[in-house]
């Protein structure tokens, strides 16, 4: 297996020696975060397998599909409609970087005071240390923040790039603009793949992605009761894998896992003690393998029962209307789901996110909210003021934290989390 992977990585032009350092760190970190847990659901076997060979299994599948003539599109954001790519028989793979390992290569071309997610994403490409970044035939960026916009210009010098210009409001003219962006994206994908996006194919793709959304929503619903059948760490891993795995296979394995979780709930099998504080995590996304805050929070005695972020509810909430009768209708359905229903901090104003956090806090019966921001993410950092004020008004305890991908601040974060949990416990 090792020889096969190394041959594949070599063919991809990767820096094998440097990449090997990342491979060396994975088993220990995975063991500490995931395998140290007791009583994990058996359905996590699939996700353990994918994670154990994270740079081998799925990349090999993608390359096999490329050899059949299919194109792989790498994306960085939940606003990019996977349905369009799938309708053109393309494959979507998430590309956001979640490791400090990639940050130094990103800092060679980006200001140090750029968020670690952007630095890691560029570093993974330019340092040639991630197979997914080597495999993707085209990258699809979006204008959700200034850092990304400028970073995409640098990436675009190295790889074919399409940018979707996301409006920063939800007025009628913004919906019209986003509809136009989706139409332009359809044309780009059609030209790049050589495949037409027909109504039948787009409706079919909408059904595929909706089924995945329903499965992930079902997974989240399992965490709403007093009995918590799966840890936040395990759900985070599932969500991270959902961004690059085959959507239909992922739907199947998540639904199988949910069968087990619902049975656990019926039998009262919980991964957390009854008095463990229930935490909702909100804020910036947690790209693989960023497991730091989930691990700190849960190994401090709490259990994370919901994530209101792009690697959480924003990824699956709301379906795209199915059975559209024309391509125009289908584009309208995509426009509505993506622009109207994803409440990213890039919008102004963005009251929907505050409402979502409060609603989710009630639905998941949380004891407290942790508002987590990646360093140098001005949008979420600034919106944090409004988030914390609203939660205080609602009587929901809240803790604001800022961090990056380094390990340096772990003890400090742990101290603050433990103090917060102590306060919640009263």
């Amino acid at each position: 297996m090792a020889d096969k992977n190394h041959a594949m990585w070599k063919d991809l032009g990767m820096d094998l020696d440097t990449h090997d350092l990342l491979c060396a760190a994975l088993p220990g970190a995975f063991g500490d975060v995931f395998m140290s847990q007791k009583n994990r659901p058996e359905g996590m076997d699939y996700f353990n397998t994918v994670a154990a060979d994270i740079h081998g299994l799925r990349p090999a599948e993608l390359i096999a599909e490329q050899k059949k003539g299919r194109k792989v599109f790498g994306t960085f954001c939940v606003f990019v409609p996977d349905e369009v790519v799938i309708a053109a028989d393309g494959i979507v793979t998430g590309l956001c970087g979640g490791s400090q390992f990639w940050v130094p290569d990103g800092e060679k071309v980006l200001p140090t005071n750029t968020c670690p997610l952007i630095k890691a994403s560029l570093g993974a490409r330019l340092g040639k240390t991630c197979p997914f970044f080597r495999i993707a035939d085209m990258y699809v960026g979006e204008t959700t923040c200034d850092g990304k916009k400028k970073a995409y210009e640098i990436l675009g010098e190295d790889v074919p790039m399409h940018i979707m210009h996301l409006p920063h409001g939800k007025r009628p003219q913004d919906l019209a603009a986003w509809s136009g962006e989706i139409r332009t994206f359809i044309k780009t994908v059609e030209d790049f793949t050589g495949n037409a996006v027909t109504l039948e194919k787009l409706n079919g793709a909408i059904q595929i992605v909706n089924a995945k959304r329903r499965a992930l929503e079902r997974l989240y619903n399992c965490r709403k009761g007093q009995c918590v059948p799966i840890s936040g760490r395990d759900v985070l891993l599932i969500m991270q894998i959902a961004f690059f795995d085959d959507p239909q296979r992922l739907t199947q394995v998540v639904n199988q896992l949910c069968d087990e979780l619902e049975e656990r709930v019926a039998k009262g099998v919980s991964v957390a003690p009854k008095d463990a504080p229930r935490i909702l995590l909100t804020g910036t996304p947690l790209a693989v393998p960023n497991w730091k805050m989930h691990n700190i929070i849960e190994s401090s005695g709490a259990v994370i029962v919901c994530e209101e972020n792009c690697t959480g509810t924003r990824y699956f909430a709301h379906q795209v209307r199915e059975d559209n009768h024309s391509l125009d209708e289908a584009v309208d359905a995509l426009t509505d789901r993506y622009l109207n229903n994803i409440h990213c901090a890039c919008f102004t104003p963005n009251p929907g996110r505050l409402d979502d956090i409060v609603r989710l806090a009630r639905e998941y019966h949380v004891d407290g909210v942790i508002d987590l921001n990646l360093k140098f993410c001005t949008l979420y950092d600034t919106e944090g003021y409004l988030v914390e004020r609203r939660l205080k008004d609602e009587g929901i305890p809240v803790l604001g934290l800022e961090t990056d991908y380094t390990d340096n601040d772990s003890e400090q974060l742990r101290t603050r989390v433990e103090a917060f949990l102590e306060m919640i416990r009263g």
Binding site: M1, A2, D45, T49, A52, D53, G56, S99, E411, R414
Partner: protein, 84 residues
């Protein structure tokens, strides 16, 4: 803590043996292969010290495909805070 890792040539072999062991009432955990026993980013099966005897017996009595069984001294510590 002592644990044992069963190594394979590919992940299909690991998943198959995992299922075989489960059918035989034996526990195993699909895990990343520790660097101390292999340099690949591969999939292996972790077996506890308590179960390794029964697992070895199972392996010798059934047609199981694997590369080797390795003993590893390890300690999983969620408070180590060493991420990748």
């Amino acid at each position: 803590m002592t644990a044992y890792y069963i190594l394979f040539d590919n992940h299909e072999q690991a998943v198959r043996l995992h299922g075989q062991l489960r059918m035989g009432g034996l526990g195993s955990v699909i895990a990343p292969t520790p660097r101390s026993v292999s340099v690949c980013c591969g999939v292996s099966l972790m077996i506890s010290e308590e179960e390794i005897g029964a697992v070895r017996t199972f392996l010798s009595h059934h047609a199981c495909v694997y590369r080797s069984v390795e003993r590893v001294e390890q300690e999983f510590n969620p408070r180590r805070d060493a991420y990748c």
